[in-house]
């Protein structure tokens, strides 16, 4: 059975792009969330193998969402998707429990490499 993924980004364009990359590579995108709060809720409902997480989002950002998800499930596998120039925030997300990160704008191969590293 293919691994399941929850895609979290406030931009529908980025959610669509990440979902397409993952679906075409054989992963099953089980849900999308447009802010950190939704990601925490959907994580509990869907229990995905992996979450891709944007950092800057309205309502609840990615770092707070990582903290809450890893509190609920210390084994959660979360991949941060950050924009250029957000190194300090990426560091904070990794300390909060994220496993790895990719920098936007990304090439499909970079996303898949990172996803495979996190799921390994």
């Amino acid at each position: 059975m293919s691994s399941t993924v929850l895609v979290c980004d406030d931009a529908v364009f980025m959610r669509t792009m990440v979902s397409d990359i993952l679906s075409q590579a054989g992963f099953t995108v089980v849900g999308e969330a447009e802010n950190g709060k939704q990601a925490v809720e959907k994580y509990q409902q869907l229990k995905p193998d992996l979450v891709t997480m944007d950092i800057i989002m309205p309502e609840m950002g990615g770092i707070e969402a990582v903290k809450q998800i890893t509190q609920l499930d210390p084994a959660a596998r979360i991949l941060m998707c950050s924009a250029m120039g957000q190194q300090a925030l990426v560091q904070e997300a990794l300390q909060a429990g994220a496993r790895d990160f990719v920098v936007k704008p990304f090439q499909p191969s970079r996303v898949l490499e990172a996803v495979q590293r996190v799921l390994a």
């Binding site: 931009a11 529908v12 364009f13 669509t16 800057i56 924009a83 250029m84 704008p105 990304f106």
Partner: protein, 215 residues
Amino acid sequence: MTNPRDTPSGDSGTTLLSTARLDALREVANIGAGHAATALSTLTGTRIMISVPMVNIVPPGDFVPELEPGVEIVAVQMAMNGDIAGQTVFLLAIPAGLRLAERMLRRKRGTSPNLGKLEQSALNEAGNILAGAYLTALSEFLDMRLMLSPPRLITGEAGIALSTLGDHAPRVESPILCVETEFFLEEPSESLHGFFLLVPDPKAFDAIFRAVRVE
């Protein structure tokens, strides 16, 4: 959409900033355009080049009427803060905006007849990338910390759309840094024409002038 350089602009440009300083800003814009082109090419999986045919300082009162009456535009607006405050606006005529959105979505030409939610989100991301690249180049040149807020999309007739920018609407007392931006796309080849506007708060513009140390 007409070009600001075609219209006599009174006290704009040359009296506000020397030719050497405008050349310096043009160079900064070229660096930003290069970074934005690389990012957009990566994102779209096709080669995109961006050139900057014109950089000028224009009084906003001059810029707005130069957009042909009735031209419908799509504009991505972002608030700028940090060492100087203001806003950035990336604007295109709607047909060009649709073409750019199709590229961002890796769709064929003509498959996005309307600016739907996904197309708007794609243009927000393009505007985000472009503004981020220009501002990064400018912040390095000026040695200033400049940050952007999340993008907001505005559509409509040019004058009306620009007037919806609220407190930051282009005003006569606040000159605009106008960067004409030409996209060259491949497979299939086409070019798209737009403008990137940096609208600093009036006080912030003085800070830019002081920081442009080129004589």
